[in-house]
Structure formats: structure tokens, C-alpha cells
Amino acid sequence: MSIIDTSSAPTVPARKVEALKPDLLLTQEHHMCPGCGEPLAVRQFLETIEELGVATRTIAVAGIGCYTSFSGSMDVDLVQALHGRAPSVATGVKRMLPDSLVFTLQGDGDMVNEGLQEVLHTAARGEKVTCILLNNGVFGETGGHMTATSVIGQRTKNSLDGRDAEYHGYPILIGDLIAQLQGASYVARGSVHNAGSVARTRKMFKRAFESQLRGEGFTFVEVLTMCPTGWFVPTADGPTYMQETLGEVHIMGELKAEGRVRTTEELHAENVAKQRELDEQIARGGIEK
């Protein structure tokens, strides 16, 4: 255990929490639940916009869900859309201001339930916008109801015994649908359940925005976010619960990049192969666990 040297002032001065907030947030305060994954994702794309130096031509279009509370605190010009309608609104914005960076902020309820056709058509048209999906597998805002991305077995307020494929149908892997469309240039699925996934997601935002700015086509970043409130799990269990439920189905990775499409199934197979390789190496005593 190291002992803090108090004989002189620390070389790195103490900072207030406020100083750690992204510049593109007007306040560090938010109204999300403890353990919510959405603020983590918001930080990543806001800091990416700062990093790219394109803030003064950035316009956000927000959908309706818990993330809507960032409409007032993000320091970007913003158009508030109706539930599900952000992609068409973003289309109108971008067509009038083609040099701007336009992104939507939507949830799984907003995008995959209410507005599914909007996002698909916007992608098919190759609109040069970035749609951001915060996927927590529930309507967080209304209190934890099943959405089109809830996974089989997931307990929600209207699937109390778990989502039953026979009765409730199957979840939609929205990234796969979009990746199939010719108009989409970049499609990725990230997560914020641990530091590694946050860092990967950050890169995805960067690639998506850069692709949009190069005018390549429609870009899409899905981020799995924790919703302990809507999942009815203890706050601290959020990341693990997510990994074991949503994370097993909505697999992280790039579904379309540089013209190459990979399905979620393929991403899963790659992960399994990688894991097997690791296991074998461990078994051979090659690396320590």
C-alpha cells in the first residue's frame, strides 16, 4: 500500500466533478437513475464531437425516452422530435444543411418499436445522418415494459414470467437489418457495461461521425445501456445482468464497416472462437487467467 506524500502539494491539482463533464454539457447534473447506462453513452458521443472539432456545425434530434432529459443539458442545437420520428426530422434538417453533422438520440422503444420504418427508410435512402440507439431492452421511461429488443426470457412489467417467444415473439436485431441496406455506410453495436466496452464504443462513434462527414451514407451506432430500474435489479448488478441477458443476444461489434457486412451471428461465432483460443492457451499454460 502506497502512502500519500503530504510534504508538498500534489503535482496534479484536485479537480471538481464539474471539470470532468464534457464541454458540450451545460451541467454535470442529470436526472437519470443511479446505475443508468445512458449518461455514459451520451458522454462518449459528446466528447467525440468535441474531439472532431465539429461542434459548431452539429445538430441533434432527440426522440422520446429517458434520454430526452439530455435535450436541455446538451449544449448543441437541438430539435425535439416525437416518439419514433427523429430519423425523418433529421432528414429534413440535413437536407437543408448538408454541411452539418446531424445525429439522432433514440431508445429501443422509440426507434425499434414506434419508429422502426423511419430508421429503416432513412438508412435505405442513405441519408447522411447518424442514428444513435441507446438499447436497454425496455421502455425505461414508462417503467420497464417489454420492447422489440427485449431478449427471450427477459422479465419486464408486461412479460412477468420472461419474454416467451411463442407468446411475445422474438427480439429484433436492428443493427443487422440496417447493415443489409445499401444506403448504410457504417453500422456498429457497442456497450457501456465496462471500461473496455466504453472505449470500443467511443471508437464506433468516431468512425460513424467521420463517415457521415465524408458523405458516405447513413451511419448507425447502437449502445447497450444499463437500466437497473427498468430491469428491477440492484444498481450494482446492472452491468453483469446486461452482459448475461441483452449482451448475449445483441453482440458487440461492427456490423458494417468499409463495405464489409457481418451478422450478429458471425460476431458471436468470432467471439466464441476467440474464447476457445484463449481457453486453449490457458490450458496449455500459455497465459495466466
Binding site: 456545425r57 442545437d77 437541438l78 429534413g92 437536407r95
Partner: protein, 383 residues
């Protein structure tokens, strides 16, 4: 309002004239979904807008058409959408909410008849909102109304709907697209362009009554109250035409293309010595209640009639206007042609004149040919 430039007259279909008028008014974005009789407005704009650097998107649904217009409007551009009955029904959620967001949308409603009077003036959307509704009687007036619509929408930051129909959209008239000059309006400093992002003063276009952190927010109730208090102020945009009312014993109220038929029929009846007048609401909202009240309160007025191509919607506003000064009778009827798109059998000067005269002479209204066979018969369990 004054005409500033005059070009030569050409024979032009109504839809094209309306499209050209929109462009003359500075409209640079349009999105729509085909539906008769609105389709041709979309077709012409799809062809004409790119020629002036504008954009017209053949949207994948009416929901998306209005959403796209919403986004374009938020950037400060003049933008419009449109449709017909069903398509406009689909757009209602956006119509009411973008009114709260104070977006100056212009809506081209090429209706199938006049059965969408309630839809246009009452709306099917949620909450307290009103749209200014202009009802041109012909293509020439339509050209003027389209330009007026864009002006009024910006003036009040409130949607304006043009109530047209099959005749307006499909009739060819010899017209010229005269640019109408309007008083200058304030700059749209509320519009988003990204330039203030990161400055601490970024803008938000929203219906929710929320604001950016640090700025005063109205809240939901405040926003509703704010819009509610704008509504009576917009009532000053009321527009109306009337004729022969001074000595009239009978007053007929009608709007849109049918009003032109009514006016013609009344002019003929006048020549035959019948003291009949008319009131034509040019704005359906705000409705010219005062003008209707004044006409109905004329010294000789004995009765008021409402002629419209519906089962009786306008008549309710006429009753409010008349305010019990005279009995109000509905003298119109449901009227579409076999395709369901056109204006139907009742839009016939002779038939209209017959009905007006019957009203005037306190006779029973003549039956509309072909109506009886479809009349609903009460069933045993309903008696």
C-alpha cells in the same frame, strides 16, 4: 398585399400553379406521399424544386413526410407537406405537436370533397391548437393563398392549411404566377444551424415547454397557456367575402370551389328577382363569425342556409355565427363521384339553385337524385 410582378397568363393545371406559387413564396423543401387528388402537387414540386436548389422527397409514408418538413422548418427554411383525408389523419400527431413547437408548416390539403372540414378546422390531434385554414375558390385565388399561407405561417409561427379539392388541383385555368409582396418579417433567430453548439447558448426547437439548462422554462402548462393566448390573437387574420347581403331575405354560406357555384347560382336567382345573399368564409379558421352574424342580422333576413359537400360540418360554425337570429338549414349533402375522388353530383349549378330557391321559398328541399337507395333504414332492435 400587392402584386409586384406580372407575367403573361398561361393555361396551367391547378396543382402546377399551386406548386409554382409555393416556390415563388420561397418554399425550398417539400415532402409528400402520393394520394389523389393531392398527387399532382407532389409531382410538380418533385420536378420544380430541384431547379431552384430546393429538395422534394417522395416520403415513405405521410408520417415521415411531415417529420421531414418538421426538420426542414427547424432550420428556418420555408417548408411544406400535404395530402388528402387519410394521409392528413396520419399526420395529426405531428400537426398538433409542431404547433406547440411553433413551426411554420404549410399544409396542402387537396381534399376529396368537403367532408374534412372538421379535420381541417378542429383537427384530430391532441391538445389545444389551431391552424389557420385558407379555402381558395379557384386556382387564381389558390396562387395568392399559397403565398399568403407561407407569410402567415411565419408571421404567427403557426401552421397554415390550404383547403383545396379535386377541382382546385385538377382544373386548368389561364393564370399567371404573380409574386405577392408582404411586409417583412423578423429573422428566424430561433432556428437551428449548429453555429451556437458549444457556445453555452445553443438553441432548442421543442414542443415540450422545456428549455436549455440555465434558461427559463415554461413547463408543460406554461407552454399550453402560451399557445392558448396566441390563438385569439391569430383570429385577426379572418377573411371573408360576401355579396347581396344588405337587403337579403335568405343568406347562404359556402366555401371553396362550391362557393363559386353558389355565387353563380345566387347571381342568377338575383336576376330573377329573389333577394338572396351569400357569405363565403375565406378563412375557415378563424371562422368569420362576426360577418355571418351581421349578415344574419340584416333587416330582412328570414333564414340562413349552409351549402357544403358533406353531411353537415360547416353548418355548425354557421349556427354559432348566426347565434339564433334566424333558422339555419343545411342544404348541402354528401357528394363524390364514382371514383370517390371527385366532387360528385351535387356540384351542379341547377341543382344548387333549386335547393337555394326551395330554402328561400320555405319549401321542402328537393331530393338529391340517387340518394334514397343508400339511406340507412332503422332496424328492429334500434327502434
Amino acid at each position: 398585399m400587392s402584386a409586384t410582378t406580372t407575367s403573361d397568363r398561361v393555361l396551367m393545371e391547378g396543382s402546377e400553379a399551386l406548386a409554382r406559387a409555393a416556390i415563388a413564396a420561397g418554399c425550398r423543401f417539400f415532402a409528400g406521399y402520393p394520394m389523389t387528388p393531392f398527387t399532382e402537387v407532389l409531382e410538380h414540386l418533385a420536378r420544380l424544386l430541384p431547379e431552384v436548389g430546393g429538395v422534394c422527397i417522395n416520403a415513405e409514408s405521410e408520417l415521415e413526410a411531415v417529420g421531414m418538413a418538421w426538420g426542414a422548418l427547424a432550420t428556418g427554411a420555408r417548408a411544406a407537406t400535404g395530402s388528402t383525408g387519410q394521409g392528413l389523419s396520419l399526420m395529426q400527431e405531428s400537426f398538433s405537436e409542431l404547433t406547440l413547437a411553433e413551426l411554420p408548416l404549410v399544409i396542402f390539403n387537396m381534399a376529396r370533397g368537403q367532408q374534412d372540414y372538421f379535420q381541417a378546422t378542429r383537427g384530430g390531434g391532441h391538445g389545444d391548437y389551431r391552424h389557420i385554414v385558407l379555402a381558395p375558390q379557384d386556382v387564381r385565388e389558390g396562387v395568392e393563398h399559397v403565398q399568403l399561407a407561407f407569410h402567415l405561417a411565419d408571421k404567427w409561427r403557426n401552421p397554415v392549411l390550404i383547403y383545396g379539392d379535386y377541382l382546385l388541383a385538377h382544373t386548368q385555368e389561364a393564370i399567371s404566377i404573380e409574386t405577392v409582396a408582404f411586409p417583412e418579417l423578423p429573422k428566424k433567430d430561433w432556428a437551428v444551424d449548429g453555429s451556437l453548439s458549444g457556445s453555452g447558448r445553443s438553441r432548442g426547437v421543442t414542443s415540450l415547454g422545456v428549455s436549455k439548462v440555465g434558461e427559463p422554462a415554461m413547463g408543460q402548462e406554461g407552454k399550453a397557456q402560451y399557445i392558448a393566448t396566441k390563438i385569439p390573437l391569430m383570429e385577426r387574420e379572418v377573411r371573408v367575402e360576401q355579396g347581396y347581403c344588405d337587403d337579403a331575405e335568405t343568406v347562404v354560406v359556402a366555401f371553396g370551389s362550391p362557393a363559386k357555384f353558389v355565387k353563380y347560382a345566387i347571381a342568377q336567382l338575383r336576376e330573377a328577382g329573389h333577394r338572396i345573399g351569400y357569405v363565403r368564409p375565406i378563412t375557415l379558421w378563424p371562422f368569420p363569425y362576426a360577418a355571418v352574424a351581421a349578415a344574419a342580422g340584416g333587416p330582412n333576413v328570414r333564414r340562413v342556409g349552409s351549402f357544403e359537400l358533406s353531411a353537415g360540418q360547416l353548418v355548425e360554425d354557421v349556427r354559432i355565427g348566426v347565434g339564433g337570429q334566424a333558422p339555419v338549414t343545411f342544404i348541402g349533402g354528401v357528394s363524390t363521384d364514382h371514383s370517390g375522388f371527385g366532387v360528385g353530383r351535387i356540384l351542379d349549378v341547377e341543382l344548387i339553385a333549386d335547393r337555394i330557391l326551395a330554402l328561400h321559398e320555405d319549401r321542402e328541399l328537393p331530393l338529391i337524385p340517387g340518394y334514397e337507395q343508400y339511406s340507412y333504414q332503422i332496424q328492429e332492435h334500434q327502434k
